[in-house]
């Protein structure tokens, strides 16, 4: 799975920079190693440089500085059509004047395969995405989801070792998107192909990836497996970007080992895990996930500071309850409780005491 050793990396970005206008860097000093067979997702808001990185890997953009290697070979000066990388485009990019079968045969014809070989490979690829009956159709005669499968089959039909996917599910509706996420994930597991996937949808990134690289402002903010990314974000951008997050600004009072006390802006004091703070006096944003906030005495850890909170709004969401609280001057503090049999519903105006495990409460940079 995750592979951090540079020497064994299948795809390597080394000090890669990209600038379109010669002044502003869209990608700033990118270093990234992708292991063979890994499913790596580049996640980030638009303009964060993730698509540019993918395009540089595909060869449609050239790196202004730095080196990109594929299977140990530098590919900076290899044209796109000689890289042998499969790609699924955002708008599918199926050839409208060809049938599905002809679309899939295209990369095989380029490789000068025999007719019978092409036929069997096309058939196998179509069966793989359960579109075997569609070989004679034209792209315009199919739905978005079907076109998506064909695009996927076409990117895989010539058996590339690396497949790039540029927000391939962006145009599909939610249900189909979730279904396709699993399908792509299963294909990846079955074929063992290396996938670099670009998306701005974090749930997609978390569901599918071995590792996720969170991009912002032309840099990788954090590169980690989904679980680490969600539970152990290393800076406040990642904490905010991945999932729902409560933040409380304050400054560090004292640090000892894996525990620090933070004085919030309203004067109250809490305990937190020091992540991005180093010494007392540092300004910090304390980050805590809504589902890790507790208000029942029996579930709260004993030896930590607690906070007073006022219930502002109670929202019933079916499987869970969302309670909006005022905590330390923050009116948007969310607490999420599972809709369990014994769960108590809170009413607006009620005063409660909330707390959490110190490990779930991370003192991050104040950016």
């Amino acid at each position: 799975m995750a592979n951090e050793r540079g020497d064994a990396a299948f795809v390597a970005f080394e000090h890669v920079q990209k600038s379109y206008d010669g002044e502003t860097l869209v990608v700033k000093d990118l270093n990234l190693n992708i292991g063979k067979g890994e499913f790596l997702t580049m996640l980030g808001p638009s303009g964060s440089g993730k698509t540019t990185c993918l395009m540089m890997l595909a060869g449609f953009e050239t790196a202004t500085h730095g080196e990109i290697r594929l299977a140990g070979r530098p590919i900076n000066s290899v044209p796109p059509h000689k890289r042998g990388i499969g790609m699924v485009f955002q708008n599918y990019a199926l050839f409208p004047h060809m049938t599905v079968g002809e679309n899939l045969a295209f990369p095989l014809e380029v490789r000068k395969m025999s007719k019978s070989e092409i036929e069997s490979k096309v058939k196998r690829a179509l069966d793989m995405v359960q579109m075997g009956a569609f070989a004679g159709r034209r792209p315009a005669q199919m739905s978005g989801g079907q076109q998506q499968r064909i695009a996927l089959a076409r990117a895989l039909v010539f058996e590339p070792e690396l497949v790039l996917m540029d927000e391939p599910l962006g145009a599909l509706d939610k249900q189909l998107r979730e279904h396709m996420q699993f399908e792509i994930k299963h294909l990846h597991e079955r074929l063992g192909v290396t996938v670099v996937y670009v998306t701005h949808d974090q749930s997609e990134a978390l569901t599918m990836s071995d590792r996720v690289a969170v991009f912002n402002d032309g840099r990788i903010q954090q590169l980690a497996p989904p679980e680490d990314l969600y539970e152990r974000p290393t800076n406040s951008f990642v904490a905010q970007f991945i999932g729902e997050n409560n933040t409380l600004p304050g400054s560090v009072e004292a640090i000892s080992g894996d525990r620090c006390t933070v004085k919030l802006t309203d004067g109250s004091v809490i305990d937190a895990l020091p992540v991005n703070v180093s010494k007392p006096g540092d300004r910090t944003l304390v980050s805590i996930r809504p589902e890790r906030v507790e208000f029942r005495d029996d579930r709260m850890p004993a030896d930590t500071h607690k906070l007073e909170a006022e219930v502002l709004e109670f929202i019933y969401m079916g499987d869970s309850f969302r309670t909006r609280l005022r905590v330390a001057g923050n009116d948007n503090f969310i607490m999420k409780c599972r809709n369990a049999v014994d769960q108590r519903r809170l009413n607006a105006g009620e005063k409660v005491v909330i707390g959490w495990n110190v490990a779930d409460c991370r003192a991050l940079d104040a950016a």
């Binding site: 044209p79 499969g86 708008n91 034209r138």
Partner: protein, 283 residues
Amino acid sequence: MALPPYATTGQRVWFWTFRAICVAIIFFLIMPILVVIPLSFNAQNFFTFTPEMLRFEPGAYSLRHYQDFFTNPDWQAALWNSVRIAPVATLVAVVLGTLAAVGLSQSHVPFRGTIMAILISPMIVPLIISAAGMYFFYSRLGLQGSYWGVVLAHAVLGIPFVIITVTATLVGFDKSLVRAAANMGAGPVRTFFKVQMPLILPGVISGALFAFITSFDEVVVVLFVGSASQKTLPWQMFIGLREQISPTILAVATILVAISVALLTTLELLRRRSEKLRGMSPG
């Protein structure tokens, strides 16, 4: 586009004036062309309707002018010249114009606007000026009065049409298709012929037809650049009109109109077919 019940007097007046103007425009555009057709069947050597023709007497109509066209060696030589020049000029215009349009559609090409303006200029500059310029220029190169001189001159006139029509189809062309082709291992040449060309073909064909008609109907430039041995149909018509007022011209005109209509119809049918292929309209 019926008149809504709440229309004001002004709107009613405009509603009918607008239609009157439209009818007048169509009348003045089409009538001079249509009137030639019955006249070309005149049994007499006149450019006007004879009283017998107006009475629809069968004897007043004949095919003698058509017969003259197909037997007279002057007309046959002119037809042969036109048929020899127009397709070759079209081919040159299509190849160069398509390449220019594809090149100019790429955003990294510098001075695209200027280059485009220069290539389009033969369409804007008065023909007589282009013709005079070509005359002097081709004389220096030894092309004046030669077959290839006329072909080249007509190709230059046809290129703007090809550039404009191909550029128009390229606007709707999805550039990620080119990337997809490259990604699957196709080199630039293969990508052009297998992916780009089939999709911009309607533009190429309509450009070709315009270029063909331009060459086939052109008289000014050929008068300057050509010599007697490149006498084309329009040139022969011009002479015919000036020197020997023969209604054979009307027969030729009718044939040319028929050819133009046939070409444009073909074009439209091709366009619809390709749209169907591309799935732009329900197949």
